[in-house]
């Protein structure tokens, strides 16, 4: 009765691989069991959706959502990484048509030699195009370029009725799907507009900000000069240095900025990789002391001001991708990422929250602060014009649940919101206030998918 059903040996030839396995998000909290199906064609995807059963199914990419967005307890999870073909590249116009399971890493490998770059990249290249649309991800260029879906011209969506729809930007279904966490259907292909680049290197300016006010002033004054901008913030610093930060901002390096040797292969893309994090890491390795020391070192190491440093794309955008399975460093208990945004004019709320976090001594060594530009049309799209702060915290920190609930209250009172792709613990009552278009989203889902075929642990937890 309790044995997990494994596929019969003879089944594997002509049937999709499917296995009941525990599934978690990148934060490795709250595992639930689901039938993991890996379709290798559109027909198999359609069959998987038709056969997913009473507890529904949800598409999953590379599993980089931190919380329970790509989990579906007792139901099916469609691993879309089997659909990984790049169909067409318009090397003159700068668009690509590819399957939803193609990763941004793969796109970079294919596109950089042609002089094109993805329009938006988050802190990891290991996300799929489908996931990038479903979470409507943002990157260091949000203040100028907006979120990922802003650069998507159209996509094909497999909906609950078994139909495949071509969805164009500007339609309600497009806006519900951009940021819709996979709950409107399964994205099969997408056409994405690209960013032209002359080289695969970044020209980076680094500076230190001595406290939070200094940081916000610098970002407000000069962010518009840079295509990419982000600040690493030391949330363990207290008192006068509360919010001290290292700003790194830059743009794609033009050809003439490269030294002679590098000019021979200006579009080479060779991200380095370190050994993977070990499978077992003792809990509490990242405590207040170790993280405090790390943060001190990181801050002191950074130059007070340096301009025009050449960095590789992987160094500038994806430092953590160098260590495979870096999420294991938090040990078996996993970790929570808390990311919220508050609008311009709510700087006091941001200050209050940073103060609360530094008083609580959250051992967080990966905190980033960014100034967002204009919001995006996706109904559940996260960015709002203003400020966003993201921090990682070990989930086993005593009292963390109550503490983050308190931060939610501050965020909600300031008219802000938390990011669903990162969330694993929000109180459902607060959601409607944070996302004003939630009612529209629910109404569209009720019409498009009355039986609730597309269901995830996130949608169950938050009644999306």
């Amino acid at each position: 009765m309790f044995l997990t059903k494994r596929p019969h040996k003879d089944d594997t030839v002509d049937r999709m691989p499917a296995d009941t396995v525990p599934v978690t998000g990148w934060g490795r909290t709250a595992p639930t069991a689901a039938r993991l199906v890996r379709p290798r064609s559109y027909e198999e995807t359609l069959a998987a959706v038709r056969e997913c059963g009473a507890r529904g199914g949800i598409a999953r990419g590379l599993g980089r959502a931190y919380g329970d967005a790509a989990q579906n307890a007792g139901g099916a999870v469609f691993d879309m990484t089997g659909l990984d073909r790049v169909h067409a590249i318009d090397a003159d116009g700068g668009t690509v048509l590819c399957d939803a399971g193609v990763s941004l890493h793969r796109l970079m490998e294919v596109l950089l030699p042609l002089g094109w770059f993805v329009p938006v990249t988050p802190g990891t290249r290991y996300v799929t195009v489908g996931g990038a649309i479903g979470a409507d991800i943002h990157g260091k260029n949000h203040h100028g370029s907006g979120s990922f879906a802003r650069h998507v011209l159209s996509f094909e969506l497999l909906t609950a009725d078994g139909g495949i729809r071509m969805v164009h930007r500007g339609t309600p279904l497009f806006d519900a799907t951009a940021g819709g966490m996979g709950l409107t259907g399964v994205i099969l292909t997408a056409t994405v507009r690209l960013q032209p680049v002359e080289t695969s290197l970044m020209s980076v300016d680094t500076e230190r900000a001595t406290d939070l006010d200094d940081l916000m002033a610098r970002l407000t004054a000069t962010d518009h000069r840079y295509r990419y901008s982000v600040a690493w913030i030391d949330l363990l610093a207290r008192g006068a240095s509360m919010g001290r930060s290292v700003l790194t901002r830059g743009d794609h390096a033009p050809l003439e900025a490269l030294p002679g040797r590098a000019r021979r292969a200006p579009l080479e893309f060779r991200p380095g990789r370190l050994p993977a994090a070990p499978a077992f890491v003792p809990e509490g390795l990242l405590g207040r002391t170790t993280v405090g020391l790390f943060n001190e070192f990181w801050y002191r190491r950074a130059p007070r001001a340096r301009t025009g440093e050449l960095q590789r794309i992987s160094t500038f955008f994806h430092p953590l991708d160098g260590v495979p399975h870096w999420n294991r460093v938090y040990g078996r208990g996993g970790f929570v990422q808390y990311q919220f945004a508050v609008g311009h004019g709510e700087e006091d709320a941001l200050r209050r929250i940073v103060h609360l976090i530094s008083q609580h001594r959250c051992p967080s060594f990966l905190a980033v602060l960014k100034r967002f530009g204009e919001g995006d049309p996706g109904w559940l799209s996260f960015p709002v014009p203003g400020w966003t702060l993201a921090l990682d915290i070990p989930a086993n920190l005593p009292g963390l649940g109550g503490f983050l609930d308190g931060l939610d209250e501050e965020v909600a009172a300031a008219g802000g919101r938390v990011y669903l792709a990162k969330d694993s613990r929000l109180r459902p009552e607060l959601l409607a206030g944070m996302y004003p278009r939630l009612a529209d989203f629910r109404a569209l889902r009720a019409e498009l998918d009355p039986a609730g075929v597309f269901t995830s642990d996130l949608s169950r937890r938050l009644a999306l």
Binding site: A30, A33, R55, A395, S424, R460, R461
Partner: protein, 251 residues
């Protein structure tokens, strides 16, 4: 669904008037729990327990459940799971009996075993299957230090808890990898109605402390929780004391 800290949104308490069960429900309601099912024999006490939890803002319903009526478990508990996912089942029912009387009344002693062990096996399996179908959830089983090593003073109760403890451990292993988490909670002497009038044992604790330990155990996804934690050390020493010595110990 449980959140990243293992806090459930919906809770089923088997033994709806259990003081530890209700203390746990109160604690979890202040966190995330919105739906609570109290399963127990229909009584004014069960209804007033439900009313008490409703005051805290939860949606509380009661369901008729008798540990001794194992034939009805499938139907009565199936009804609860049919209404929606249950994130956590707290198996909290149990009777202590009166050792000195029960030693002379085998029928009464058998009722203790049937309630604490047989009833728990039946209802535990019904819940385990339902949790496995939904692919997630915690089954929290209230065992006791009394089950760790039988004592002269309460071996009837102790042996029933020993059986329950072994059952829950095995069930937890059977369900490993299914998304269902089984947690065995072994409290020491808990000051409650059940132990009123009994001489207090060392390391005595309260229903509220057990509730806190359960919340922490859920967060850590623990398989075994001792309340208080020091009992783990004490019992691992006591377990190895020779019979001839253990028999003479004033415990």
């Amino acid at each position: 669904m449980k959140d990243a800290f293992g806090t459930p949104q919906s809770l089923l308490v088997l033994g709806g008037t259990s003081e530890i069960g209700l203390a746990t429900a109160r604690r979890l309601i202040t966190r995330r729990t919105r739906t609570v099912w109290l399963a127990g024999r229909p009584s004014p006490a069960l209804e007033s327990a439900a009313a008490g939890l409703r005051e805290l803002g939860a949606d509380v319903r009661t369901v008729a459940f008798d540990a001794l009526d194992t034939d009805a478990h499938e139907a009565s508990l199936g009804k609860v799971f049919a209404e929606g996912d249950i994130d956590m089942v707290l198996l909290a029912f149990g009777v202590l009996g009166d050792q000195s009387r029960d030693e002379n009344e085998p029928g009464a002693a058998a009722l203790i075993a049937q309630t604490n062990y047989t009833g728990a096996v039946s209802s535990g399996l019904v819940c385990a299957r339902a949790l496995q179908t939904q692919g997630h959830g915690s089954l929290v089983v209230l065992s006791s230090v009394a089950g760790e090593r039988a004592r002269r003073a309460n071996f009837i109760y102790g042996s029933s808890k020993a059986g329950l403890d072994a059952f829950a451990q095995g069930l937890g292993d059977a369900l490993h990898g299914t998304g269902v988490h089984v947690m065995v909670v072994r409290p020491g002497f808990v000051r409650s109605r059940m132990t009123a009038g009994l001489p207090e044992a060392p390391l005595a604790t309260t229903p509220e402390a057990v509730a806190l330990a359960i919340e922490t155990g859920l967060r850590r996804r623990s398989e075994t929780v001792w309340v208080p934690g020091a009992l783990r050390v004490v019992m691992s020493a006591l377990r190895h004391v020779p019979r001839a010595v253990f028999r003479r110990l004033p415990v």
